[in-house]
């Protein structure tokens, strides 16, 4: 209730959250994977986040009680609310929404008051994920992040705006250096964007290398950026790190969108990187994860956190590192008035459209987690109902804000889980054998024991069908007991089923945009209630 909320908020102060003066002589500020969320949001962290092979049970593959135990977090505390899924609804009502670009601006200004030349770096997935970002093709986020003073960024979903738009922004309004050591021209195999930038801070040369999401043409539609090739390119990274050292860098910072497990392996195999600011997998970890001499920093997503990293750079090398994962409690950190006004200006043209109420949710609607999430269950229900399908597929995206039970669902809320540039809700026929191949293929992108074969999403969400998955098995043997829920019968490999889904990477996919399908379904339901999904049986090993 209100009493506990007030008490909880009074126990938190802005000064405590941001902290006092930092150590060392060089400060990095890291924001990543905001997915165009300029407003404070609810965002429930995953209940299931399995690691396989060498990383099983290591951060970020800890949830709930294991997470609290690993980092000394008290149950029910503000950090518990921010970092785990447990008791989410009650804690959300206690501690309030998180994020908001105007609160982030306050934090950035406070850090700069202490360290005026702090280097603000954006890990990407910035220009996609909201209705205004979709309608302005990222222009709103470019303007806002310019105002925030971002000096360098890397990328992933940015490229789903299409290569022409990316070039237009990079060569036009964008003030940040747009870095990607692993982005190559596919025809002549030559670098297509700047790999790094060198800046002087605290009397030392600091190299910031960018690494875009390695699997862009696989995870997203390659036809939107047909002349580019990505990949992890470990040898290329080693060369760029060496060239930074040769050019006199005392500290090498990798601004990465590889995903955490890929970065962990990269840190093992490529020497000479002092700090990796990780992104893409949306993990928030309260402490640096040390891999040899490399510190891996994970700063979460959706504006929930800002990382402050203080480096002691002396005698040509990093001598020490301090890190604070600053949680952006929106009821505690005061909004920065200038940024509030600017955000409102970017939202104004769409305000009426976004605020329209479509229905109410009776259930917690969240997405994040390796398997099902209730938001995707709702989307799958909409696909089955509106497109008259046996089975629905919804991609395992890690972006999308949460709604609490009893909350009205606005059009903005629907766009926060669907806004992207290839939204067609297709309807097609697939054999049972093909469906099995699809599930096996996606499962291997998530649970291959070699991180370099992982793409960092979550398992494709399925409606109308249940299955059993043993994540310890090799590709082809993980998925069994596929069942058509409507009849309770096993999926027949030779039978053809009607399947509806969205976010196909194939050019020319036809169908209404997913947000229209979901809106129509919500309007018919009035109040949507999602029962806990029991149709995926997980064997975690």
């Amino acid at each position: 209730g209100n009493w506990s909320r007030l008490a909880a908020q009074q126990s938190l102060t802005q000064d405590d959250l941001i902290g006092g003066g930092g150590s060392g002589n060089v400060t990095l500020i890291h924001i990543t994977d905001i997915h165009a969320q300029t407003q404070p949001v609810w965002f429930r962290e995953p209940e299931i986040n399995l690691g396989v092979g060498a990383v099983a049970g290591l951060p970020p593959h800890l949830t709930g009680a294991a997470f609290r135990q690993a980092f000394g977090i008290a149950e029910g505390s503000p950090r518990d609310y921010a970092l785990t899924h447990d008791d989410f609804v009650a804690l959300a009502r206690t501690y309030g929404r998180m994020g908001g670009l105007d609160r982030i601006a306050t934090v950035v200004k406070a850090i700069r008051a202490d360290r005026p030349d702090a280097l603000l770096l954006d890990g990407g997935d910035t220009w996609q994920g909201s209705l205004p970002a979709l309608r302005t093709e990222g222009a709103d986020m470019v303007r806002l992040f310019n105002a925030l003073g971002v000096e360098a960024m890397t990328s992933h979903w940015e490229f789903t705006l299409g290569i022409d738009r990316v070039r237009e922004i990079v060569e036009g309004d964008l003030q940040a250096a747009f870095l990607g050591a692993n982005i190559f021209d596919a025809e002549w195999d030559e670098p297509a964007f700047e790999p790094m930038t060198m800046v002087e801070r605290g009397g030392a040369q600091i190299a910031v290398i960018g690494q875009a999401f390695p699997y862009l043409p696989i995870a997203n539609p390659g036809w939107l950026f047909p002349d580019l090739s990505f990949g992890i390119r470990q040898e290329r990274m080693a060369e760029v790190v060496q060239s930074a050292r040769d050019a006199g860098a005392s500290a090498v910072v990798l601004l990465s969108h590889n995903g955490f497990d890929v970065d962990r392996k990269l840190a093992e195999d490529v020497p000479g990187i002092d700090v990796i600011l990780t992104g893409h997998t949306h993990d928030a970890i309260p402490e640096p994860v040390m891999v040899g001499k490399t510190a891996l920093i994970a700063s979460g997503s959706h504006g929930k956190f800002v990382s402050r990293v203080d480096l002691d750079v002396r005698d040509g090398a990093v001598q020490g590192i301090d890190h604070r994962l600053i949680p952006i409690f929106s009821d505690v950190i005061a909004p920065d008035a200038e940024m509030t006004a600017l955000v409102e200006e970017t939202r104004a043209p769409f305000a009426d459209e976004m605020s329209e109420v479509l229905g109410t949710t009776g259930s917690l609607l969240y997405r994040r987690g390796n398997f099902n999430g209730t938001w995707d269950d709702l989307i799958c229900n909409a696909l089955v109902a509106e497109r008259e399908a046996d089975i629905a597929l919804s991609p395992g995206f890690r972006w999308g804000a949460t709604l609490l039970p009893g909350q009205e669902i606005t059009r903005e809320d629907v766009f926060n889980v669907t806004a992207m540039s290839y939204p067609a809700a297709y309807r097609t026929e697939m054999t049972g054998a093909f469906l099995h191949t699809v599930l096996e293929d996606v499962a291997d992108n998530l649970f291959n024991p070699d991180p370099y074969y992982q793409q960092g999403g979550d398992m494709v969400r399925v409606g109308g069908m249940g299955y059993r998955i043993d994540v310890t098995q090799p590709q082809g043997s993980r998925i069994t007991e596929m069942t058509l829920l409507r009849t309770g019968e096993r999926i027949d490999p030779d039978r053809t089923y009607t399947v509806s889904g969205w976010a196909s990477v194939n050019e020319g996919t036809e169908g209404p945009p997913i947000w229209d399908v979901v809106e129509a379904h919500i309007r018919k339901q009035g109040t949507v209630t999602i029962d806990p999904n029991q149709s995926v049986d997980v064997i975690a090993g």
Partner: protein, 128 residues
Amino acid sequence: GLGALAAAFVLPKVAVAATDDAIAAFTGGASVGQGGITLTAPEIAENGNTVPIEVSAPGAEAIMVLAAGNPNPDVATFNFGPLSGAQSASTRIRLAETQDVVAIARMGDGSFVEARQEVKVTIGGCGG
């Protein structure tokens, strides 16, 4: 995202024998060692129709490349001439499905060495 798989899905499985036969034809049945040859390929193909690979074997006379999971495993053979500046080459190849790419070098002394790497061909989709 689905459907990129469709082309790979209908291709026949190839007998391992065809790859072994191609290796035997190249080596004349000589034993094949490890080391001294590097094969660089992406872990996951961005597009199975055009997968970049690089082979390098300092001191090689020739390097043969095979795709062990294609209907026909033959890919290319690089013969290095007197003005070759390094016994290395890059090209782009077609892979019907997830499989090992194999490179075998015939060295200047008549010996043979090989390197292999699995390249995954996936339907993709999803992401963080």
